[in-house]
């Protein structure tokens, strides 16, 4: 079997070269994702068989099943999926433009900016009895604003006749440390109740997601993913270094800015609704790279699916393993992801 398949339609107005192995992997991941999605929907205090879950999706099943699935489980599962996708794609883009395997949403300070905003929000808008004086609905807005402001700050500080990857990441890590410090400081100064609430947010949780979250998050993440996928060939070229990228006619600085904005928007959206879920943005792209290779056309979809699967499983464990206690999903992303990643590290020789 040939490794690649030409895909050309409309008199070659649309043409792609498809890596068969990568396509197979992506399809397999898609199936795994669907499986996890259905299994997770059926699991909880009330068990629903996979067949019934599918029936419920299409309007069947008992009223009770409809209620549990529609009102409680589906929103948070969809949010987990979207958040995983968003963080993984953002991480993949960042690793591509920064050309450093340690690049991730956290290390550039973007997640940190959101944390500071959230902790600050909790501190500023709480009254004496720790009750919020404004609606909790504003929390995602604060998180998103924090992430965006910090991303712009890092970009602005790194600008000096263009933004070089090494400056971007070093300044990012400086700002990251500062954000972490500020978060700790605010948590220490505030009452312990706020600290623990903030801690849950920082760990990352999709608890309490509702359909209005879904309605905002799904289009946001999906549109940005399409944009990222369209830009994939520009990441490919940036991975070869600035000289080569300029040489083949890519406007390096413009695409670097654009890609950074896309990842910031993805991160901002994800952390706004699920907090600082770690690991996914760092490791999902590495896992994807080991499964489908280095071309971003395949790498982005694969890492998106891995990210989505990871967060869905993490949340499934978080809400069932210690039931009735709810453990934030962020606790388990790394615990289940790291061993698998280490396994991949050994399996592929190209490390």
């Amino acid at each position: 079997m040939r490794k690649y398949q030409n895909f050309r339609v409309f008199k070659e107005k649309v043409s792609f070269l498809v890596d068969r192995k990568a396509l197979t992997v992506v399809i397999l991941l898609l199936l795994v994702m669907a499986g996890v999605f259905i299994f997770s929907t059926g699991t909880g205090e009330m068990r629903i068989s996979p067949i019934n879950v599918v029936k419920v999706f299409f309007g069947g099943g008992s009223d009770m099943e409809q209620l549990v699935v529609q009102s409680f489980r589906l929103p948070r599962i969809i949010v987990s999926l979207m958040v995983g996708i968003g963080l993984a794609v953002a991480g993949g883009i960042l690793q591509g433009i920064i050309r450093n395997p340690l690049a991730s949403p956290d290390i550039l300070g973007i997640t940190g900016g959101a944390s500071v905003a959230v902790v600050g929000f909790l501190a500023i808008f709480s009254d004496e009895s720790n009750a919020l004086t404004v609606s909790i609905q504003w929390l995602p807005v604060a998180a998103f604003a924090g992430a965006t402001i910090i991303a712009f700050l890092v970009y602005f500080l790194s600008w000096k006749d263009g933004v070089s990857p090494i400056r971007l990441v070093l300044i990012g890590i400086g700002i990251y440390s500062l954000m972490k410090a500020l978060t700790t400081l605010m948590m220490l100064l505030g009452p312990i109740y706020q600290a623990s609430q903030a801690n849950i947010w920082i760990t990352g949780t999709v608890y309490g997601s509702n359909w209005s979250n879904v309605a905002i998050l799904v289009p946001w993440i999906l549109v940005l993913c399409v944009v990222a996928f369209i830009l994939a060939r520009n990441i490919n070229i940036q991975e070869l270094g600035d000289d080569i990228a300029t040489g083949v006619g890519s406007n390096v600085q413009r695409y670097r800015f654009l890609l950074l904005m896309v990842s910031t928007a993805l991160i901002g959206g994800s952390v706004a609704f699920a907090g600082g879920i770690g690991f996914v943005g760092l490791m999902a792209p590495h896992m994807a790279r080991r499964l489908v290779g280095s071309s971003f056309g395949a790498l982005l979809p694969a890492s998106a699916l891995i990210g989505g699967i990871l967060v869905m499983i993490a949340d499934l464990i978080g809400r069932t393993l210690f039931s009735p206690l709810e453990i934030p999903a962020g606790v388990f992303t790394a615990s289940i992801g790291a061993p698998y990643f280490i396994y991949l590290l050994f399996k592929t020789r190209n490390g």
């Binding site: 649309v14 070269l17 830009l231 991975e239 070869l240 600035d242 080569i244 040489g247 083949v248 006619g249």
Partner: protein
Amino acid sequence: MNTNQAISTKQLTLSYGDTTIINELDLEIPKGEITVFIGGNGCGKSTLLRSIARLLKPKSGAVLLDGEAIAKLSTKDVARKMAILPQSPSAPEGLTVLQLVKQGRYPYQTWLKQWTSEDEEKVNNALEATGLMKLKDRAVDSLSGGQRQRAWIAMTLAQDTDTILLDEPTTYLDMTHQIEILDLLFELNEKEQRTIVMVLHDLNLACRYAHNVVAIKDQKIYAQGKPEVVINCSLVKNVFEMECEVTVDPLFGTPLCIPYGKGRCILKQERLSRNG
């Protein structure tokens, strides 16, 4: 406007910070020929090449490509006319040869049109010309030095440009592979009349392949022309600060530079002291 020039520079001044590297340079690079920049380490020949390839903004002056100022052209238009291979590029982990070479088609792609039959043909030609067809699914980082350099050259070939710029394409290669790469470039020039501009360290190889050498010294051109005409003892002495004897290559008839200095067997005792 002389259309026999692929590239020319007008009053080009280049600098890193406050250090001037090239000063008010007027250079003309003939079309369809092989031009080689020579000069001592740090004389600015790589800098000049990078600036011609728009990787480095000039402090003043301009680079003209087919008579048009390069700064005014869109970077994609330039990329369809001129390709550049910088010194020791690095590929991401696991990227295959085909994936790398395919990147050369970047200036022709849109996001819906990423693999037309023309793209395929050019990429296959490039793989064929560099003898990499069999290795196209191997990871670039698993190749030997010579193969890796050929893969990068294949990428610039896939760009399908009239002009190719290369910064020391033979560095780190053994003699066999040096000749192999230069023969490949020579053939491209011979068969397809592509303009080749490169920086080479080996003066004898430069003389053997180049139609036109440009010797750079003290921020400007010391001499330019056919190797047989410009390369002689006094040029080598002034440009490289080295005493030598220039004879004729017994196989190719081009200038052959034999540096003075020490050696195991000595035939002409009186002329071998380095300081003349």
